[in-house]
Amino acid sequence: MSPNLRIAYRFLTAKKRAMFMSLACTILGVGLFIVTQATTSGFQSFFIKVILGINGAIRIEDKIQDTMRSMAAVGASDSYFSHREGVKYIEGVEEPQRVADALREFPNVRGISAVVSGGVQVSSAFKTENSPQLMGIVLEDHLRVSDLGEQIISGSLDEFRQTPRGVLVGRVLADRLQLTRGDTVNIAARGQSSRFKVAGIYETGYREVDKVNVYMHMSEARSLLKKPSGATFLQIGLHDASRAPADAARMVAVLRHKATSWQEREVTWLAVFQALRYSTMITVSVFTLIASLAMFNTLAMIVIEKTKDIAILRSMGYERKDITQIFLWQAGIVLAIGAAIGALFGRVVTWAVGQIPLPINGIFKTDHFIVIVDPNHYVAAIGTALVMVMVASLIPARRAARLEPGDIVRGTAQ
């Protein structure tokens, strides 16, 4: 043990009670920081899992029309228009097969599902709903880019697979139309209606989806929507979803189609989660702030009580730097203990919070608190405490170092 650490430890043990406040607040600050990050990022990553499970990582739609420069010269109004819009789109993906072939060149692409989609009217014996959106899919393709397989709560995928005129209906829509598995529904589009069988009911937890999306086999959807070729959009699954924005940007450049990453699509909700994380982080940092103020206070007190010891140490050849170190070590010891206990406390409370029942439904569905244990949270929590407490300790530590031994022994040190 270095002489300075040894002295720091001894000074500290003589002042255990005074250090308690700082230690307690360090533990609370570190622990609660970890807990709040575990819950907020728990919900955030669960939300991300849900939206990836519904809409995949990237959606490709609408071919980009290469606007000619000459258009600008045609007329003032036209040039204004094209300037403002920047690019023009042709709705839908005209040649999904060619686009899909190009997409397979992207190493991060895990799956591609072409979807034919359009607004429909769905009627049961009980009621008619006008807002549903029909999703014509090739099931096996779509299972590769979504969690549809895990979202079935009634009926089964096999039943859907084996029923050519079967549909999968969301839980909210099914409730509104009072549908159960095996019921028959009328689905109308463009003035023509046909009868389909409810092969299963799914629930994503995202209310807007469960109310709207109706899944149907591709061929049936094509004839109902009168879209014999092409696709409305392609849903892409990625191996590493975090790289979606970069991949989407490259897809736009290569495929000349609009490509939207999930980060761009869900920017509003993601911003809400981010804001929540930061606000809880700031709130909880109040404990760390108190810890650092208490540390400042205690060290300032010890400096005053130990001025004579400082003079003795200086007379024996201990440098200013040693005196600073002795006081910083004291803060360091309290921090180390506080960080260790705080991290443990945070881990235990995180576990306990994960057991709390909490029914949520709306943008996702869960029946208990969602927590994730991420080493980065521990690093951030301890790092925050380290910086704040050390900065606060620096002031008394440097003051102690500035004391002149001559002034101390005469009793005129200040």
Partner: protein, 221 residues
């Protein structure tokens, strides 16, 4: 070895500013024991702090082993204190949270010349020499004033300083222990060639020193 010329020191501020040292010159040679005597308040401690590089003079120069230290920087003065000077304070002696042994080892640990084992052995022998061999593991708070003072003497000798400055090292001691400490200091001066400067009110001790410098009102007389 140790030489100061025309030292002036003012203390206090504004109205209360006092001219405490009024041109003190002094030199200490190897192997000699010096006594500074004089009435209370004449400036003996003030002079010793200056010689010990714990304080800086307002005027004059201090040379230690041929080097001018009076206007050198803090780091150089600190290094000189650790390596060449042993200091015994007049009033407070020990770091009270530490044992006698730890107090004596403290300067050695900073200097770092000896191994941990050698430091311990040396601290034990120094405490033996001041008659405290049996109380090495007592905390500062568990020692009497005179015992603390003797530990402080042992500590001042820890790094084998070439100059030992002691402000009334026998002030709290009975006749027997006064003699013990004084004999130790004179023996070291003779055997190891240290310069010993001590402040004392005890005429018998002053008598036995090689040189006695009486002081009055901030000047040697």
């Amino acid at each position: 070895m140790l030489r100061c010329t025309d030292l002036h020191r003012y203390l206090g501020q504004g109205e209360g500013r006092v001219h405490v040292l009024r041109g003190v010159s002094f030199a200490a040679e190897r192997g000699q024991v010096y006594a500074i005597v004089g009435p209370s308040g004449c400036g003996k401690s003030t002079l010793l702090y200056l010689l010990g590089l714990l304080d800086q003079p307002d005027q004059g120069r201090i040379e230690i082993n041929g080097q001018v230290m009076s206007n050198s920087d803090d780091l150089a003065r600190t290094a000189a204190r650790g390596a060449h000077i042993g200091f015994v304070f007049q009033f407070h002696f020990l770091m009270l949270e530490f044992t006698a042994l730890e107090n004596v080892m403290m300067p050695m640990r900073k200097l770092g010349r000896l191994s941990a084992e050698a430091m311990k052995a040396r601290a034990h022998s120094l405490l033996d020499a001041v008659g405290l061999g049996a109380k090495t593991h007592r905390l500062g708070t568990q020692l009497s004033g005179g015992e603390q003072q003797r530990v402080a003497v042992a500590r001042a000798l820890a790094n084998q300083p070439t100059i030992l400055l002691a402000d009334e090292p026998t002030g709290n001691l009975d006749v027997k222990n006064s003699a013990l400490v004084f004999d130790l200091l004179t023996r070291l001066a003779k055997e190891q060639g240290q310069a010993v400067v001590l402040v004392t009110h005890n005429p018998e001790i002053a008598e036995r020193c090689d040189v006695t410098r009486p002081m009055r009102d901030g000047m040697f007389v």
